[in-house]
Amino acid sequence: MGGAQLLMLENVTRSVLLPDDSELHILTGINLTVTEGDHIAIVGRSGTGKSMLLNILGLLDRPTSGTLNWQGKDATRLSARRAAAARGRDLGFVFQQFNLLPGRTAVENVMAPLMYSSGRDFWQRRRLASEALDRVGLGARLDSMPQTLSGGEQQRVAIARALVRRPRVVLADEPTGALDVGTGRAVMELLDAATVESGAALITITHDANVAALARERFRLEGGCLHPLSQEAVR
């Protein structure tokens, strides 16, 4: 792709300790490189560790072993504070269940990440949030409460929220999982267009072949490893 390297995983493993003190190896050897402008889809059946991988990519979780580089630096050595700062500054999350903050309007939800920024972004948070909502076609619904919005609109608010701090990587975990087919496609096209426009990399975790087909790179997570998938294989 020719862009700057953002994330690089080499032989990343992740195990969890079971109640009987035995270890369950979920990720056994993940190798992945993410550069600016990438659109990567990762498909896999339930329980294969897709969300766990996304958590590692989003600096929410740490690998058991292997190398995880974030912008050329070893991310496994990042302190919790620096990891949080990196998440706030460079990573955007879109969740399956939207995860909008209850009791807050659309614009307040989009403003929420800007509460953790400093300087101009913090003081101009309302303007920036309004512009972000305008870009996803919700300029007229700024003060709407989440429960008054449709599923597609709620996910668009979540996309605006993920993009408002201009992240370098957007991580989407089953972004269309709670939407019908038509709305899901529209949301994915919007997410793709928005990240292309901003130059951010987009990593989508999905089990929907149609969603995966929109990505420029596709992988299947199986047996704890990523396997490249061709466009035809997805279809």
Binding site: D61, A84, A86, R87, A112, M115, Y116, S118
Partner: protein, 411 residues
């Protein structure tokens, strides 16, 4: 500078988040804070009320003399008689007080038994013979009319001041002052002019009447000489004990053959301050228990609520909220809420305590000087409410800070 700006922004943001959270959950917050509001109102009212009660007790004590009050008595040791009154002793007291540059001095002489009468009503009264300075020295204010002045000695009609008990017993009305009544002692009866009235003294057991020594001398002493005469002085507290000793020595020198005794006679010399302090301590203790119960209820609601907000905390962590920021934000929610509740509690307390009718009905007696709402009670109320917010905010904040992000998002 950047670090300072970041910290400043973080603080403002945490306050905004806290306020937003309170706005969103206003009903829950309102209900959970009722206890704190009531507790802070009770605490502030108790502290302010203790101040009022102290003022009342102080007024009661000071009616027997404001600190430092030195009493001087002169006796003839050989006769084993009580304190004597004579022109010689009065002159010696005046000379010695002048030497010590004492501004407030008064003779105190009492005469029991004179009958005050008006329009057929006749009651026994206690006559006190005092100088004009006796009023300020014993916290006597004329509620109607005025207190005695030196010039009253020249009045053709003897001027007297009476208390409310005597006023009531004679069926007199405040507004009708000045008024003439008859004062009969032994066989002589004199018409005197009541120029002022004061609040009830000495629990109102017997009506009291004050007049100047010159007045008593001219009209009554021939029939009923004063006995139990003493002299009082109002001096600064510091050094008053030494002053009493030296005063007695000096006056003794002026009165060979007499025994002169001077000593502190105000309530501070008896150590009643401890009683007032204990009273305040008991009231504060009760208010503390009320506050503890209010805090426990607040903590209970905060803990239950936090369990329901784990997912929200996870979402915020995904935005980049650090552990310390989550801790601080959650604690600030509690602090901001209790500060608002505390402010409301203090306002309620001010409204209650500043109502003179209510206070006088509770204390069942009139205050000469209605004290203002004590600033320390307001500060204590606000300080305690903020401290309660911080303390009850710590546990939910710890729960929020210890949330594992991946688990929280998955909930």
């Amino acid at each position: 500078m950047n670090t300072l700006a970041r910290l400043g922004t973080g603080f403002v943001a945490a306050l905004l988040e806290a306020w937003q959270e309170l706005r969103i959950h206003r009903l829950r917050v309102l209900l959970s804070l009722i206890g704190v509001t009531i507790a802070v109102a009770s605490l502030s009212t108790a502290v302010a009320g203790a101040g009022m009660a102290q003022q009342l007790m102080k007024e009661q004590y000071e009616r027997n003399g404001r600190p430092a009050l030195i009493s001087t008595q002169v006796m003839e040791p050989n006769l084993q008689a009580g304190p004597q009154d004579s022109a010689e002793i009065a002159a010696a007291f005046a000379k010695t007080s002048e030497r010590f540059k004492i501004e407030y001095t008064s003779i105190i002489g009492r005469s029991y038994g004179p009958q005050a009468s008006l329009q057929g009503l006749s009651v026994e009264t206690e006559v006190q013979v005092v100088d004009p300075a006796y009023g300020p020295m014993h916290r006597i204010f004329a509620q109607h009319g005025r207190w005695l002045e030196a010039a009253d000695a020249e009045n053709l009609s003897p001027a007297v001041v009476v208390d409310k008990t005597l006023l009531g017993a004679l069926g007199m009305d405040d507004v009708s002052l000045p008024m003439t009544i008859d004062l009969r002692s032994n066989d002589s009866s004199v018409s005197v002019t009541v120029i002022g009235s004061t609040s009830t003294r000495d629990n109102g057991m017997i009506g009291q009447l004050w007049m100047l020594p010159e007045t008593y001398e001219r009209w009554f002493s021939a029939g009923t000489p004063l006995d139990n005469v003493s002299y009082t002085m109002w001096v600064p507290i510091e050094g008053s004990e030494e002053l009493a000793t030296h005063f007695a020595w000096q006056m003794q020198a002026e009165l060979p053959g007499y025994y002169v005794e001077s000593y502190r006679q105000d309530y501070l010399a008896w150590g009643t301050e401890e009683g007032l302090a204990q009273f305040a301590l008991v009231v504060s203790g009760i208010a503390g228990i009320i506050l503890l119960l209010g805090s426990l209820s607040l903590l209970n609601v905060a803990m239950v609520t936090m369990k329901q907000r784990i997912r929200e905390v996870g979402i915020r962590r995904s935005f980049g909220a650090t552990t310390s920021r989550v801790f601080f934000s959650v604690m600030m929610e509690s602090v901001v809420a209790t500060a608002v509740a505390g402010g409301l509690g203090v306002l309620i307390s001010v409204a209650v305590v500043s109502n003179p009718r209510l206070i006088n009905s509770v204390l069942a007696t009139g205050l000469d000087e209605m004290p203002g709402f004590p600033v320390e009670a307001a500060l204590l109320g606000m300080g305690v409410s903020i401290a309660v917010g911080a303390l009850t905010g710590v546990l939910p904040a710890l729960v929020a800070a210890r949330v594992r992000i991946v688990d929280a998002i998955r909930i």
